[in-house]
C-alpha cells in the first residue's frame, strides 16, 4: 500500500488541469462582453472541484473554453488551459480533439437535448470508441458499450443499447450522458449542472453514481452548479464565481464554515435551514451585473451590504486569509472574523 501512496504523491506534484488567467470576451454588435475576466484554478488528480455561481457568473463559459466549445469569433479566448503538458487554447484542433472526450470529458445539464435524437445510444457510445480508439473492433465496441450501460445502471443493457434517447426518462438519459462521459476513463469529468433538470430523488441517485464511478476510475470532477448544497456534499475544493471572475477559493468545508466573501455569505444565507423556521429567507438584493456594463471597482459592490467607498473605486485582488483559502474582498479578514 505504501508504494501506491508514493506513486500517487509523485503524480499529484503536477495538477492534471491548470487554468491560468483565462479571459473570454465576446465581440457583439453592441460592444465587447467580458464573460470571463481572469479565472485561474487547478485540478489535482482525482479531486472534486466545485465551481459555484449564478447564471452569468462565467462558470459555463469557462468550461466552454476548456472544452473548445466556444466559436471564435465571436469569442476571444486569452490565458492558458494546461492539461498536463498540453496547452489547449493554442493547440491545433487535431491535438485538442484527441484530449476532449477522451482525457477530459463533459456532461451537460439537459441530457435529452444533449443526445442525438436520431441515433441509438449504442451508436453514440460506439462512435466515441470509433473516433478515439480506432483499433477497436465492432464486437469489442458493442461489448464495451453494454458494459458501460450496465455500469451506469441501465437495465437490461443488452437490449437498451439499441434504444433511442426518447425511449428513456430524464434520469436515465443523464445516466447515458454519464456513460458517454466516462467511456474512455477520462482523468477529468466536467459536469455542468448535471442534476438541475432532474427530480430531487433522481438528483441524489445521479450524484451517488458519479461518486461511485469516480472511486472506480480515479477521475477528477469539476462540478459546475448554482446549488451550494450540491457542492457542499460532493466537492473537496470550491471556487465561487461572480460577474465573470472568482470571488472566493478554498477547501469546500472551510468556505462553508468560514466564508470570506460577502457574496458567499449571501449564497449561504439564501439556503433554508431547519432552525430558520418561521423566519424570512434572506435573498441577495439586486441582480448580477450585465457583462457589458461592469461596475467600476468590486463587481459585487452594488449588491453588497458591507460595501464602502473603496469598493466602488478599486478592484479587489485575491488575498489569502488561510494557506489555501483566498477571497477577492477588500475586507476579507473582517468578513471572516464576522
Amino acid at each position: 500500500m505504501a508504494v501506491v501512496d508514493v506513486k500517487a504523491d509523485m503524480q499529484s506534484d503536477q495538477p492534471v488541469l491548470d487554468v491560468r488567467d483565462l479571459k473570454v470576451t465576446f465581440q457583439t454588435p453592441r460592444g465587447h462582453v467580458h464573460a470571463v475576466n481572469g479565472v485561474s484554478f487547478h485540478v489535482e488528480k482525482g479531486e472534486a472541484l466545485g465551481i459555484l455561481g449564478e447564471s452569468g457568473s462565467g462558470k459555463s463559459v469557462s468550461v466552454g473554453a476548456i472544452m473548445g466549445l466556444l466559436e471564435s469569433p465571436p469569442a476571444r479566448i486569452e490565458g492558458q488551459v494546461n492539461y498536463r503538458d498540453t496547452e489547449l487554447i493554442s493547440a491545433p484542433a487535431s491535438v485538442t480533439r484527441s484530449i476532449h472526450g477522451d482525457r477530459i470529458a463533459m456532461i451537460y445539464q439537459d441530457a435529452i437535448t444533449s443526445l442525438n435524437p436520431s441515433l441509438t445510444i449504442g451508436n453514440q457510445i460506439g462512435e466515441l470508441f470509433k473516433v478515439h480508439r480506432p483499433n477497436m473492433g465492432r464486437r469489442e465496441i458493442q461489448a464495451k458499450s453494454i458494459e458501460l450501460l450496465e455500469a451506469v445502471g441501465i437495465q437490461p443493457a443488452r437490449e437498451r443499447v439499441n434504444s433511442y434517447p426518447h425511449e428513456f426518462s430524464g434520469g436515465m438519459n443523464q445516466r447515458i450522458m454519464i456513460a458517454l462521459g466516462i467511456a474512455l476513463s477520462p482523468e477529468i469529468l466536467i459536469a455542468d449542472e448535471p442534476t438541475t433538470a432532474l427530480d430531487v430523488t433522481v438528483q441524489a441517485q445521479i450524484m451517488r453514481l458519479l461518486g461511485d464511478l469516480r472511486g472506480q476510475i480515479d477521475m477528477a470532477l469539476i462540478l459546475i452548479t448554482h446549488d451550494i448544497g450540491l457542492v457542499a456534499e460532493n466537492t473537496d475544493r470550491l471556487m465561487v464565481m461572480y460577474g465573470g471572475g472568482p470571488v472566493e477559493t478554498g477547501p469546500t468545508d472551510a468556505i462553508i464554515e468560514r466564508p470570506a466573501h460577502p457574496y458567499t455569505i449571501g449564497l449561504l444565507n439564501s439556503i433554508p435551514h431547519d432552525d430558520m423556521k418561521g423566519k424570512k429567507l434572506i435573498a441577495i438584493s439586486g441582480s448580477p451585473p450585465k457583462l457589458n456594463e461592469m461596475p467600476k471597482g468590486c463587481v459585487f459592490a452594488p449588491r453588497c451590504a458591507m460595501a464602502k467607498d473603496m469598493c466602488r473605486k478599486e478592484i479587489p485582488v485575491m488575498t489569502r486569509i488561510a494557506p489555501d483559502h483566498s477571497s477577492a474582498c477588500h475586507f476579507a479578514q473582517e468578513v471572516v472574523d464576522g
Binding site: D102, L115, H166
Partner: protein, 324 residues
C-alpha cells in the same frame, strides 16, 4: 434499423387516410365538373337543337338523377372504370383503337402517365442534385459571400413564375440558339427545357430548406456535446446534424414533387408534352367530364403516393415516429 408492428400500423393508417382523401377529392371533382358547362352542347355546337342536346345528354347519362350519377361514379371509382370519353377521336390512342375499350377514359389517361412521370422524375432528380449540394455548401459557411449569392439565387428561384420562365427558356435556348427543340417528346433533348422550367422553384426551395435546417441542427446542444467528445467536425455535420436535418429536407422534396406534378398541367401545355397535364387541359377545354375525372384521378393518386412515400421516409429518419 428496426421495423416493428407499430411501423406497419402507421403505414396502414396512412394508406387508409389516403383512400378516404381520394374519395373526397374525386367527389369534389365530380360535383365541380357538373358546374362547368354543358358537355353535350360543347360536342354538338351552338347550332344544335334542344332535342339533339337532350338526346346526347341522356346518352351521356347526364339526365339521370344526381344520386344515381354519383352512385355510378363511386362504383366506377371502386372498380377502376371511370366511364367512356364524351368526344371521339380525341387522341391518337383513341383513334388507333377500334374496340370499345379504347374509349374508356382511365386507359387513355394511363397512356399519358409515362410521359408525365419522366418529366416529373427528371425535374425532381435534377432539382435535388443541384439544390442539396448548394444548400449544404451554404450552410457550411453562413453569411459568407458564396452563402449570400446562393441565398439570392434560391430566392429568385422561388419567386420567378414558372410559365414565364418557360417562355424565356424557349425564346433563348430554342428560338435564339436552337440548342433544344421548342416542343415535343421523344428524345433527351426534348426533356431539357420543360424540366429546367419546372425545376426552378424546387431548386430554390430545397436549397433554402437544406441550408436553414442544417444550420438549425448545428446550433443544437447535441452538436455541442458531440464536439465536446472530440468528434471531428466533418463527422459531426455529416452524421449527427444531417440525419436530423434530413427530416425537413425530405418534407420539402415531397412538397416540391407534388408541386411539380401539379405544375405539369401548364408546362406540358407550353411544351406540347404528351402527359397527363396536357391531357387534363384538353379534356377540360371540351368539357369531357369522364376524361377530366380520369386525369384528375391519376394526378391525385400521384400526389397521395408521394405523400405516402414521404411518410415512410419519415419513419425511417425519425425514430420517434416509429413508436406508438
Amino acid at each position: 434499423m428496426k421495423i416493428n408492428n407499430a411501423f406497419f400500423a402507421f403505414i396502414l393508417k396512412r394508406l387508409l387516410n389516403s383512400v378516404i382523401l381520394l374519395v373526397i377529392v374525386m367527389s369534389l371533382v365530380f360535383f365541380a365538373n357538373r358546374q362547368i358547362g354543358d358537355p353535350a352542347r360543347m360536342v354538338l355546337g351552338n347550332g344544335a337543337s334542344e332535342e339533339a342536346v337532350l338526346n346526347l345528354r341522356t346518352q351521356m347519362g347526364l339526365e339521370d338523377p344526381m344520386s344515381q350519377q354519383y352512385g355510378r361514379f363511386l362504383y366506377g371509382l371502386a372498380t377502376g372504370d371511370l366511364g367512356k370519353t364524351f368526344r371521339f377521336g380525341l387522341s391518337d390512342s383513341v383513334r388507333a383503337g377500334n374496340d370499345a375499350n379504347a374509349l374508356s377514359t382511365l386507359p387513355i389517361a394511363m397512356d399519358r402517365l409515362p410521359a408525365t412521370l419522366i418529366l416529373a422524375g427528371a425535374t425532381i432528380i435534377f432539382s435535388v442534385l443541384v439544390a442539396l449540394p448548394l444548400g449544404l455548401y451554404a450552410a457550411a459557411r453562413p453569411r459568407s459571400p458564396p452563402d449570400r449569392a446562393i441565398g439570392v439565387l434560391s430566392l429568385a428561384g422561388v419567386s420567378i413564375v414558372e410559365y414565364w420562365f418557360a417562355l424565356v427558356l424557349v425564346l433563348v435556348f430554342a428560338v435564339q440558339f436552337a440548342w433544344f427543340p421548342t416542343s415535343g417528346y421523344g428524345t433527351v433533348a426534348h426533356v431539357v427545357l420543360p424540366a429546367l422550367a419546372l425545376s426552378l422553384r424546387p431548386i430554390g426551395r430545397i436549397t433554402q430548406i437544406a441550408r436553414s435546417s442544417l444550420l438549425d441542427e448545428m446550433a443544437k446542444p447535441y452538436i455541442t456535446a458531440a464536439k465536446g467528445r472530440g468528434i471531428p467536425m466533418r463527422r459531426v455535420a455529416a452524421v449527427h446534424a444531417l440525419k436530423n436535418a434530413a427530416i425537413p429536407i425530405v418534407t420539402t422534396i415531397g412538397d416540391e414533387t407534388i408541386n411539380v406534378v401539379t405544375g405539369v398541367i401548364i408546362i406540358e401545355t407550353i411544351f406540347g408534352w404528351p402527359g397527363i397535364g396536357a391531357l387534363t387541359v384538353d379534356a377540360l377545354s371540351i368539357r369531357d367530364i369522364p376524361l377530366v375525372e380520369a386525369t384528375v384521378f391519376l394526378l391525385v393518386l400521384m400526389v397521395l403516393t408521394i405523400n405516402l412515400l414521404v411518410d415512410v421516409a419519415y419513419a425511417f429518419l425519425n425514430p420517434r415516429l416509429r413508436i406508438g
